[in-house]
Symmetry: C2
Subunit: 247 residues, 2 copies
């Protein structure tokens, strides 16, 4: 399993991804799922991946080395993109290209061509943007009404995002809430696990203000987990007990 | 969709079920999914149902009217049972009987025989017990190590149960935590909705101490939802903001 979320607020963008992969519960590994692309002052991107690892790694290969533009016949790489929408389209084309190469063989092996991506970041001159790209290469964009997107095992971590995040949330509060969402997921699904990769990019600064890995020894995350558990227990203790009777 | 949970603590048993059913998002209705069986001082049961409504209603029909015992050839009804384990077996046999009648036709219509049940309660002389019964008629029993079971859309409401419930939790705290779990699910999944049916039965008292329906006008539940939302927001506000840098 996988859990990745991106949160887009007025002040910038946060992306968080776990690193656990599994081919059966008895074959668990650690693979990076948050892939960063940065040229300071020019662009700062990240792609978070969920689904079949062989497919997502191939997609990343093509966005790095280039996907042919059907009109110009030229190879286009993610780092050459000059706007975020075109960059999301490029990732979509890379997904289709991998499907062309392996789709039929995967189907013969009864494997689904099942992947999804979060793509977020900014290019100098434009605002941070966040997209979710599907297996068919189509995509949606995150908007201020619901300023987050999730891929993978998204349900355990959604209640806190639904309640606590809006477009005006402080950038580092957004990171904190994203980490709480990740903690809830890790606690309820063994298929999602530490370490966690995180990036933060601030509006109007095309660079990665944070690009970091959080592992089990990280004191801030340990403290956050303990405080959140204690706060949840306290929160329900403060609510009066119900007093229903037979009706 | 559906969300039902049962919580079994030292002091008794709580069961909670929503009432929303849908055949597509454009065909939403209200059906009771928590079915009670009570003979005060003798037994107090409830069955919560998830999955195909035509199947679960048929299963309920058979546990009420009787399923043949393969050995004795007699019809056995749920209310005749003298121990909870045998009662769970009876429900399992009713599930298999419905599968015999409709399974093949459902398969031809490309419909899954996909149902699950929570069965909980007590019979005079025995402790409250809680079971989850699957489509194949097999079942598991809840034990003190993880004193709750869920069916239907279980993920949104699991984090609070994972953190806040243990076997020594007060009975009405268990009900309260179950309602918070239901609230989280309702908030994140449109397919789960009010009203909610609840029962409470207290250890060594085979009767329903609570057997009630909570609708949108219920003041306690409205207050619980507001307090919980406010508490979650406050809980994350009390956690310091992270201070990661590039690593």
């Amino acid at each position: 399993m996988t859990y990745c979320c991106g949160i887009l607020v007025r002040d910038g963008l946060v992306m968080i991804a776990d690193t656990r992969t599994n081919a059966g519960l008895d074959n668990i590994s650690t693979f990076r799922k948050l892939h960063v692309f940065e040229k300071k002052g020019h662009h700062a991107f990240a792609i978070a991946t969920a689904g079949n690892l062989s497919i997502t790694q191939n997609v990343l290969h093509f966005v790095r080395t280039g996907v042919e533009n059907a009109k110009t016949k030229e190879l286009e790489r993610l780092e050459d993109m000059t706007d975020m929408f075109a960059a999301a389209q490029l990732i979509g084309r890379a997904v289709r290209k991998v499907d062309e190469v392996y789709g039929e063989a995967l189907e013969q092996a009864s494997l689904n061509f099942d992947v999804s991506f979060l793509f977020g970041g900014q290019i100098a001159g434009g605002p941070p943007r966040l997209f979710m790209i599907y297996s068919a290469g189509n995509f949606i964009e995150c908007t201020p009404d619901a300023p987050f997107l999730q891929i993978g095992e998204h349900k355990y971590g959604k209640p806190i995002l639904d309640r606590a995040v809006n477009f005006n949330t402080d950038l580092y509060d957004a990171l904190k809430i994203g980490l709480i969402s990740m903690d809830s997921t890790i606690k309820s699904n063994l298929g999602v696990g530490l370490p966690i990769d995180i990036i933060v990019t601030r509006t109007n600064d095309p660079s990665l203000e944070v690009n970091s890995r959080i592992d089990a020894t990280d004191e801030y995350f340990r403290d956050l987990r303990e405080r959140w558990s204690a706060a949840l227990r306290a929160a329900h203790m403060d609510i009066p007990r119900p007093n229903f009777s037979r009706s």
